[in-house]
Symmetry: C2
Subunit: 342 residues, 2 copies
């Protein structure tokens, strides 16, 4: 990365390798502290004045286009996305903070629709938005509305999930079908000219994660939600962070036929397509059955499956056994295929 | 406000009446909860699992232009601004979360400069940035970089500050000169064609506020940082929230001669101009001297003064006794004089 004379491009925000590089070479260095260095999507920390207390904090900017899409809108997405970042850290989400950057000329009615949707999503989740900020910029200096949500949550004693805890022999679980969100968004962009009945899977996963934490105990190593960059990026993040390989089976992956069809049309790999209501978990083999049962008992984990296992691999490769019996490397997305998907 | 067919304009983000209206009619309603209804710049809440523990959470979007200005940049400003929102709630700031929305084509070197500045500001303050998110949008869909910072902090037992606690007879304190930040920003915008030696007062006020909390005890009613909308907006917020009047003395206001000159040139009232390193406090008369002494002992409160008092007034007016012995109403800013000042 040419920090001196290079420029930011869309791939730096795509959640793939370039994003990781940007964070490593610019932000991690500049902010330098042990919490950020955990490398998770949320930070866990002790709470002074309350000995033994632990909390989680996570933040997410949302720049999705279009603002309204089948299965949700930027408001509900912003609530779900941040709740999920807190929840996959193993925490019970407590509160959200929200900031809006709004373009001059944006219809008040649309803003209200978005705010109402956020309120609804937060009430349904039981996670209130407790503070906020709004800025307006001149016409042409933003695109409708951008929303940043920040969440905090509490960790029960003993719960310590982290992306670096996967070990060879662990089982990789997936909570349901992949690619729904990304395909729904692409289909709602008029210029792509295709139609589908697929709706975004945007949902708050904290009840599912609570059940998994309870069922898995210390056998639950980590959870992650495969958003930008899709399942491929998430598995590569885990493999890199834990210095292990991961092998998954193509046959095991739940992918809706319409998602497969849309991806073929668009030249996309469903493994790279974003999800907003799914999670990946790595569990000790001995705990896999109990966690899987707990997932299937939750409406958002009904189709949960084991998709593979953690293996030894110094190169931290993610491999997939294809339906035809062959194998291929599941790489990070290079460049940006799906800008502004969340 | 015409929610159905009206549009957002710059005044909705200006921190004045239109902003308050937008929050009242759109966000407060949609998010509806007791924490948001406190109406402060931060939310204070109990922490479950740790009985008796209290924390504060605050968030701020930063869209300032230019990104680099005399006395700081968007990065240091984003750190100071959110620390201050936590600090004026009476809390000790603990952690920050940050989200970036970056325009495609933005120079990496500038991004690094901003990130470095954030890291420096956060280290100097002792408040680490523990998690973050970055999104990139297409060229022309944002303006360089927008930054949202969210902070959490802990409240010592017994500290309960709120904008609704001002009572007739209380004294209004101001930590130093007003208008510096706004004038520095205006001067750095090339199209305005004037020069000044004024630099932004951007600074983290949490050490000052800690000293004030210690000195004031229960006599310290509330603190507020007069950012967007300036001192006028802050005093009006307090008067409205507490259902009281406030009377200040023009002669008591510390304003630098160059700020006065710049405001005359630009047709601005210094009372409406933003500050980023100042605070207003309302204290019981009996505690005023002790709090003022504590303020003056801190480098950022050296020029602290009492500027007025809280009075009874059903209309919640803010009045100013002018230097000539007359009086005038200090109103909220109508419209937007200084877009993107923070």
């Amino acid at each position: 990365m040419d920090v001196k004379s290079g420029r930011v491009d869309l791939s730096h925000g795509a959640g793939g390798r370039a994003s990781a590089q940007l964070i490593d070479e610019i932000f991690r260095d500049a902010f330098s502290n042990a919490w950020l260095d955990q490398g998770n999507d949320q930070a866990a920390f002790d709470v002074p004045l309350v000995p033994g207390g632990r909390m989680v904090m996570a933040t997410d900017a949302h720049v999705i286009t279009p603002l309204f899409f089948p299965g949700g809108d930027i408001g509900s997405l912003a609530v779900h996305g941040t709740i999920n970042d807190v929840a996959v850290g193993g925490a019970v989400p407590l509160h959200l903070a929200v900031s809006f950057i709004v373009e001059e000329g944006f219809p008040l009615a649309d803003l209200k629709r978005i705010a109402d949707s956020m309120g609804r999503a937060s009430r349904e989740a039981g996670v209130p938005i407790v503070t906020g900020d709004t800025k307006v910029v001149e016409r042409g200096k933003a695109d409708g509305v951008f929303i940043t949500t920040t969440g905090i949550g509490v960790l029960a004693p003993g719960v310590e999930l982290s992306g670096d805890r996967a070990r060879p022999g662990d089982v990789v679980l997936l909570s349901g079908s992949i690619g729904d969100h990304g395909v729904a968004i692409m289909a709602s962009r008029e210029n792509l000219g295709f139609e589908t009945a697929i709706v975004s899977d945007s949902a708050a996963l904290h009840r599912l994660t609570a059940a998994m934490v309870a069922a898995g105990g210390t056998g639950l190593k980590l959870m992650r939600d495969p958003t930008r960059g899709g399942l491929a990026a998430t598995l590569n993040e885990i493999a890199t962070q834990s210095r292990v390989g991961i092998r998954i089976a193509e046959e095991a992956l739940p992918i809706k036929a319409q998602v497969v069809a849309a991806c073929e049309l668009l030249g996309l790999d469903p493994l790279n397509v974003a999800n907003e209501g799914k999670l990946v978990a790595v569990v000790e083999a001995g705990a896999a059955e109990a966690v899987l049962a707990a997932m299937r008992a939750d409406p958002l984990g009904r189709e949960a499956v084991a998709i593979g296992e953690v293996i030894e691999d110094d190169r931290s490769f993610v491999q997939m056994t294809t339906s035809f019996g062959g194998g291929r490397i599941v790489d990070w997305l290079t460049g940006e295929q799906l800008p502004r998907i969340c």
